[in-house]
């Protein structure tokens, strides 16, 4: 058990992974998992702002029922660009490739990932994929939405879909390589004493995610290839005019893309488990149940893809079975939520920036999760499928959940990554602004969906009553944009002006905080690691007592007893 000693001065160590080589080649040819994580951080942040720009333009356009800025064709390309960039180039890689790459090997006491070259190749594939996709946008864009439903995408659309799909195919291999790397690392490179049930939850979550990636991504990769073949060589697989079946595409697409939702959210859940435990100074409530529910979500997640096709000529029996399986997901999700909240019970809760993100995550994930049964209950889905209700629901999960988790984790590991503290004031403020802006943006969309506004609509002059909610949503989006831009400034500023953080600014347990410097050495550890402590070995009572003592508080009666 280690304690943060407040007021102590720290120095940045002389040699660490960031200053071990200053040439561009030393970065672009690095095999260090931490440097690759930094490269990923730069590239996914860039893609996040590309996707965010598209989203901002979409929201701007929707303030008026007649549209004002764009033609319908441009509008369709904008929302497609938003979806493609955000899903494939931000949310899927964000937590595993940035935070996972950085922290996972250190957390299990390894020097690096199992395959450092493969790790670097995976970043290059990501970059090449991203450049190809951006090129396809510049050459004319893509208008079929991020789901690429056939036959619109395969026969009818005259946009740069083939090129874009090549980029996504490469990005898919980038995630497969990261997944393979994590699986091998967790199996083979744990330090002595780091048994499976001493693994931090973040490692569990990344491990489960990697399994899903390795099992699911090849399916969508080959589906995308088939769409390219149908576009270019007129293979008759998905288009009925060529003898294919358009619903087959949806099955193949969602067989991956539903589990992909869990690829996006599980690592974020892992981050939340770390954070809530650290800032409550308590072992995670129900460690085994949370681990079990992670596995359950990953397993059931593979069996529910059919709920995307409830009303696309699937049989009634199929609809019933997929609805049943979907509603069962409510159980592990509820277990997780209650256990996170209960971790604070008898804890010593510290409201740092990461903790504010955790509380925001719980609130947003709660709304996202509780609106799941509306869509999973097949009869209730009939009116809501294809509307803004769905848009709001998955943004609460994928943005409210995954991005809050990512930002929380980034603020948590930032001092470890760069050795300096950011401004707590701006950090907390930005977390609050993101939370408020997010709710303003997406809550009105639930009502819009129930009122019947289909997603991907450009004009809605035939339903003027939808405008008020669209304006509310767009106003919220501008607040949200400010919330997302703020960290760019204060985090960048912290690199230069930030106070040196010292090895363990949060007083956290875990190898990355207690056995490495901030920033860590290129080889992570200076000593041989042997793990003896159980994970999350926090002590709320002494933490709280020390804190009160520091501020001159007298020991309480019951504290004297326990001492």
């Amino acid at each position: 058990m280690s304690q943060a000693v407040i007021g102590q001065r720290h120095e940045i160590p002389d040699l660490h992974y960031l200053n071990n080589g200053h040439t561009i080649a030393s970065w672009l040819l690095t095999k260090d998992h931490k440097r690759i994580a930094v490269l990923y951080l730069i590239s996914v942040s860039f893609m996040f702002f590309v996707g965010g720009l598209a989203a901002a333009l979409v929201r701007l356009e929707l303030t008026s029922p007649h549209g004002q800025l764009f033609t319908s064709e441009q509008y369709n390309k904008l929302f497609s660009a938003h979806g493609i960039v955000m899903v494939f180039f931000f949310i899927i890689p964000a937590v595993p490739a940035v935070l996972g790459n950085f922290a996972l090997p250190i957390m299990i006491g390894a020097k690096d990932l199992a395959f450092p070259r493969l790790n670097l190749l995976s970043w290059y594939l990501y970059v090449v994929g991203a450049l190809i996709v951006l090129t396809s946008f510049i050459l004319g864009g893509v208008d079929a939405g991020w789901t690429f439903y056939t036959p619109l995408s395969s026969i009818y659309s005259n946009t740069q879909i083939s090129l874009c799909l090549v980029g996504l195919f490469l990005a898919g291999f980038s995630s497969i390589f990261t997944g393979v790397n994590f699986i091998a690392t967790v199996h083979k490179m744990r330090a002595p004493g780091m048994t499976w049930f001493k693994l931090p939850h973040f490692v569990w979550a990344n491990y489960a995610t990697s399994l899903i990636i390795v099992l699911g991504t090849p399916v969508v990769a080959i589906t995308l290839v088939l769409v390219i073949l149908e576009r270019t060589l007129k293979f008759g697989i998905f288009s009925p005019e060529l003898g294919g079946d358009p619903v087959l595409f949806q099955h193949m697409f969602w067989f991956y893309s539903h589990p992909a939702v869990y690829i996006m959210i599980l690592p974020a859940m892992g981050v939340i488990s770390e954070l809530v435990s650290c800032f409550s100074r308590r072992r995670l409530f129900g460690y085994e149940m949370v681990a079990f529910s992670t596995v359950a979500i990953a397993a059931i997640g593979f069996l529910v893809w059919g709920h995307h096709m409830f009303f696309s000529s699937q049989s009634v029996l199929q609809g019933i079975i997929f609805s049943l399986l979907t509603l069962i997901v409510a159980v592990p999700s509820a277990i997780k939520t209650f256990n996170w909240v209960l971790t604070m019970y008898k804890g010593s809760v510290v409201f740092t920036t990461p903790m504010i993100y955790v509380l925001g995550f719980i609130g947003l994930f709660l709304v996202g999760g509780l609106t799941g049964p509306y869509l999973g209950a097949v009869a209730c889905d009939v009116h809501l499928t294809g509307t803004y209700f769905v848009v709001a629901h998955f943004h609460f999960i994928m943005v409210g959940g995954a991005i809050m988790g990512f930002l929380g984790g980034l603020h948590f590991w930032w001092p470890k990554m760069f050795g300096r503290m950011y401004s707590e004031f701006w950090g907390r403020l930005s977390a609050l602004v993101v939370f408020i802006g997010f709710n303003f943006t997406f809550f009105p969309q639930f009502i819009l969906g129930y009122l019947g506004m289909p997603r991907r609509y450009h004009y809605y002059y035939f339903a003027p009553e939808w405008q008020i909610y669209n304006i509310l949503s767009s106003a919220g989006a501008s607040v949200l944009a400010i919330g997302y831009l703020m960290p760019v400034f204060y985090l960048t500023a912290s690199l230069i002006k930030g106070k040196p953080a010292g090895p363990n600014p949060w007083g956290a347990t875990g190898l990355e905080w207690n056995k490495t410097s901030s920033p860590p050495d290129t080889h992570n550890f200076h000593e041989k690691i042997v793990v003896t402590e159980p994970p999350y070995n926090y002590d709320a009572i002494s933490d709280n007592r020390d804190y009160r003592k520091m501020w001159g508080g007298e020991p309480l009666e019951w504290e004297k007893e326990t001492v």
Binding site: E288, Y345, G347, V349, F351, V378, I541
Partner: protein, 367 residues
Amino acid sequence: MNLNVLKYFPLMPEQASDEAMSYDHLYWFISGLALFFGVIVVIMTIWLAIKYRRGSTADRRNPIDHHKGFEALIVSSTMILAMFTFWWSMNEYVRYRTMPTKAKEIFVIGKQWMWHLQHMNGIRENNELHVPVDTPIKFTMISQDVLHAFYLPEFRAQYHVVPGRYTELYIKPNKTGRFRILCAMHCGTQHSEMVGWIYVMSKKEFAAWEANGGNKYLPIPTTMAEAGKRVWDTKGCNNCHSGADTFRGPSLAGIYGTTRQLDDGTAVADTSYLRDSILTPWRRLTKGYEATMPAYQGQMTEEDVLNLIEYIKTGTNTAEPGKLSPYSVPSPGGTRFGPTRVKSATDLSNENDSAPMTQAEQGAERR
């Protein structure tokens, strides 16, 4: 405060059928559950975060890090509520997907970017539909190009309109008025303008509207079956399919609804079977016949196919081989062995359609 402000913040769409009302019951039940759990978690979070903030004097002795009873309570209560929701929704869904046996039939063809709606008696409408109140309406739908979704928010009804296969949907309006038809599946550039209106009229008004021939610009409606007979004659179907089974092809008289003996197994001759047998006859051959019939895939519009099926359904197609009906248009030769493209009756009437073709439609036509 003036409560009239609330009228600018509508919270639910109008209910135009009994089904919409029972849908809303389910919707509000799930909302109640969500609110219940949501409030519990939010209160717990705030309470625990404040009570156990660092520096508070709350008693922290004997902490626990798991509680089997509590976990069991969460698992069992969410499971029971989820299963109850499932059971309710399943019953609702089965009822919703069971088509009424006696209903007014409307045929829907989705195309980029308009809804084409056709009544049995031949009245054709684009992006608007007139129906009588208190009458079950059954839609048989197909797309001519990409995926669409026929979405009627005031009836809480939606189903995808898929190219290459028929899908079904029904509604039973319980009030008169004007309600929206939307497309809820992204279908290309003008997706958001693929919208229209359903006019639900009193039965009396509807009868008058119908007697008047519906749309003014199509003064003499031909029933779908009649239009189908023209297709039948133009394509020369009775060269092979006559009153009795011949060596060329089986008789189609009274075929609808019967069970057909195929080379491998059996099939019920429903709408989808007839469609398949016209467009890709080699897929489901009647036992004893060779695959000699030309495939009409790509040779006929979806509208012609629907009309032809309606004609076959009447069971009156028993014309003697080679004998042409008075409706038939003399074809410029070759119809007997190959589907030479001739202008069908419906193509001709298309030209009278007052709705001008959009550029996009012309594009789709060329394709």
